[in-house]
Every structure is written in structure tokens, then in C-alpha cells.
């Protein structure tokens, strides 16, 4: 049950990708030129260094943002647990939810006493990260 759906809206535009990678390539070229310019003691090295760093940072940021949006584009299906109990002997079993399950439905006979078992609980467990707050 724990899976995420996908869709065509997940695709990144190839034009955007081209622009990102072109900017990245030019910025890297600017950094290489900056290193050369430093060895020649050329003042342009500072400009190239600035352009190179800005370009790398900008393209990395845009790429990260696009990837983050893709990661968010999914509907998560949480794992649902069904608890089945024997009302006579108290035997309890926990399994994954199946379509047609509902609370207080009589299901398969008990493995121990052969009495019909009953679904007593259906729920999902959430592991929440607790943020520390003063309030």
C-alpha cells in the first residue's frame, strides 16, 4: 500500500534544463578562466571569479528548486493496519488493510478456537517529527 503515484506533469521542461546546464557550463568556464587570469596576475580574475560563483550558485539553486517541486508532486498512500480479534479466545492478528474491510466485520475463523473473528481496528500510524517549541 505504501506507494506514490506519478504523472506526466512531473516532467521538467527540456528548455529549462538546457538553460540551467548552459549557465552551469559557462560559469564553470568562467572559474577556469579566473584561475588562469590569477596566474597571469590579471585584474579580470576577480570579475571572472565573481561571475563563475554567481552562475554556479544560481543554476544549482534553480535545479534544486525544480527537483524539489517534482518530489512534492505525488499523492502518498499511507500504510493502513487492520486488527482482527477473536471475541471468544482473545487471539489477535494484525495485517494490512484489504478492500472490503470495515470495523466490526466478521472475517475468517480463528486459528485457535474456530470461532469467527471480528475486525476491531483499522488505522494508520503516523511518525511525526516533534518540533521543539516554547509554547
Amino acid at each position: 500500500m505504501s506507494k506514490a503515484s506519478s504523472s506526466t506533469t512531473k516532467k521538467i521542461s527540456s528548455f529549462v534544463l538546457l538553460v540551467i546546464f548552459l549557465t552551469l557550463a559557462l560559469s564553470l568556464a568562467a572559474l577556469v578562466l579566473a584561475i588562469n587570469a590569477f596566474s597571469l596576475n590579471n585584474i579580470a580574475a576577480y570579475y571572472l571569479l565573481l561571475i563563475g560563483f554567481l552562475g554556479v550558485a544560481l543554476s544549482a539553486y534553480v535545479l534544486f528548486q525544480t527537483r524539489r517541486r517534482i518530489k512534492h508532486l505525488s499523492i502518498k498512500t499511507p500504510s493502513i493496519t487492520t486488527t482482527v480479534e477473536c471475541e471468544k479466545c482473545g487471539f489477535k492478528s494484525i495485517r494490512e488493510f484489504k478492500r472490503g474491510d470495515y470495523i466490526f466485520r466478521e472475517v475468517e475463523p480463528c486459528q485457535k478456537c474456530n470461532e469467527n473473528m471480528v475486525i476491531t481496528a483499522i488505522y494508520r500510524e503516523v511518525q511525526e517529527k516533534k518540533k521543539k517549541t516554547r509554547f
Binding site: I43, Y46, R99, G100, D101, Y102, F104, R105, I122, R124
Partner: protein
Amino acid sequence: MNKMAAMTALQNQILQEPFGEYSWILNLLFYGVFIVFMFYGQRIQMMVMLREVEGSLYKLKYIKEEGRKIAIETMKEIGKPQTDPTTRVDRFLEYFTISPQTLDPSGVVWKLEHILDVRDTRFKDEIKLMAPAADKTQANNLENTLEAAMALNYIYKIVRHFYLLGKKTLSLYVIMQLQMILPLVMREAEAYASALKAFAYGQPIGDGVGALVAAKLTRGYQTRKIAKDCIVATVPMEGRTAYVVKAEGPGGNVGKPGDAIKAIVEENEGNIATIIMIDAALKLEGEEAGEVAEGVGAAIGGPGVDQFKIEESVLKYHIPINAVIIKEDIGDAVSPMRKEIFDAAHKVTERIKQVILEKTKEGDKIIIVGVGNTIGIGQ
């Protein structure tokens, strides 16, 4: 101006050292950026906002399409229709309800009730046509699935409308308002998205915790139909007679608790010591999901018809009305029931017993109503 001159001087001093004779380029760049922001600052801000809204709109479009896909797939799987239900589902998603005129508010509740009844009948007829093989429980679940898909479709269309309107008119205020409420809208859309699968599979949802409490109380006792989609069981509790009411499960259904309470009160000629209503309520940020609180009044949401009827009934015979609520957020309310909320049902049962002991005496008759969608909860 003095401030700006000082800034320019400081900038010159800093930049002159490493850049020497080329520092004018940076000066020019600085002035350029300053002028651009002075004239186009608002437009840039607007573009940033529009981009943000656009990102959310993409997400909404995806969620909406997924909702439609799930609805169609479920319809095909359960309903076994002879023709493709896609066109019918698409038509259903555009369905609307016009609320009654309130210029003269007298009698508006009955008008609203009538319109809601017509809507419900129309929905059920449509489901029958789309899914002829579905039984009553499945038909109720399919109706809920389609309603969630409808809500997603509506949210998407409204956000798209304001996005395009803002873009067309270039009005900062239209875009700003949309961008400001967007986090809340997205939260609601995500909640409906998780509700879709819960409805399609028939899983109990957080909103059904009231019905769950009632189901636990009625377990093992004979039930009878008391109002449309509502059942009641007569349960002995702490020496009192409790009429426990809930919607008829396990299909997705809220029933008509207002009519059920009215019928029981009339059956007993108003001889009811107290009414206890149990419902899920929206929690405030900072509160824990599954927290139980107690109060007075008719604990019931929805369009207000049932709350009105309950208040009318209790007023006629001056019956005290108590409420026990289980706190959860909107996401928890419409998505599969969380363990914390499920566990809260036990705490609520204890609280009800406490209220009965404190507020009534032996031999009294009381009404306990488990309010909420009973999807995935039998009796």
C-alpha cells in the same frame, strides 16, 4: 540622499582596491540594479509571487487529475459499467448546487434541507447509472469519492481563475491575496487528495471517530432504523437507558442525526434527561491530535440543518445538551483514521460514562449521538 552618498563612497572604497581601474563597471552595475528596482520593483515582486502561485497550481492540477483518475478507476472496478463512465464522471465533476435565497431568512433551513435532499437523490441516481453493480455500501463510498474529486476540481478552478485574473490585470492585490491564502488552500487540497483513496477503499476516516464511539457502544445490541440513513440501539448504561444513534455503516454516510434525535425525543414525549453528542472537531495548531474536550451545545458540522433541528428539539422540552469532541486537523479529518484518534474513542467512552454519572440519575433516559462519516465502520 546623504545615506546614498555614504553608501556609494563606501562601495567605491571597498571595490577600488581589488578591481582598480575596472571598478566603474561595478559602479555602473550598482546604479543599474538600483534604477531597475526603483521602477520595476513591484513588477518583479509580482512575478515572483506569480511563479509561486504557478508552482502550486501545477501541484493542484496534478492532484485534481489524480482524483479524477482514481474516481474513474474505482467506478470501473466496483461498478462494472457496460459503457465507459469517463464522460459521466467529467460531467459530475462540474455539478453545482445553488444555495437558497436568504434575503428573507425565515424558513431558509427547510429550503436548504430540500435542496440538499434533491442533491443527494440526484447524486445517488447518477452513481446508480455509472456503477450499476455497486451495492448500497459501495455506492455510498463511490459518492464520497466523487465528492472529494469534485472538491479538488473546484479548488483548482478557483485558484486558476485568480491566477489568470491577476496575470491579465497585473493587479498586485489580486495576486498577493491569492499567494497569501495559498498555503491554507494547498493544505485543504492535500487533505482531499488523501481522502480520495480512503473513500475509494472504504477506510474509516478521522471524521468518523464519533460514529466509531457509537458503534463501540451499540456492539452486541439490536439496532433499528430511526431516520434516513440513521440507526439507534437501546443500551443499558450505568443504570440508565441510553439511545445510541449513529449513521448506518459501513458505507460513507453521515445520516440525519437531527431527524433521529427529534424522533427519539418525540417517542419519549420529551422525557430525556440529557443528550450527549460526540464529534470530531478541528484542532488549533499546538494542540495534539486525539485530544478529548468536553462542553455544551450541539456538536455537529455540515450545512447547519441538523444543528438547527437538534436545537429546536432540545429547546421544545428544555433538554440539557452536552458535547464531547475529539480534536484533529483538516488533514486527519478526511484521511484514513490515525491511531491517536482511534485510541481516543476509548477515552471518550470513559468520559461519556462520567458525564452520565454526574448529570443524570438512575432510571433516566439519555441520548448519545456519534456524529460523523461512518465510512469503514459497521455497527
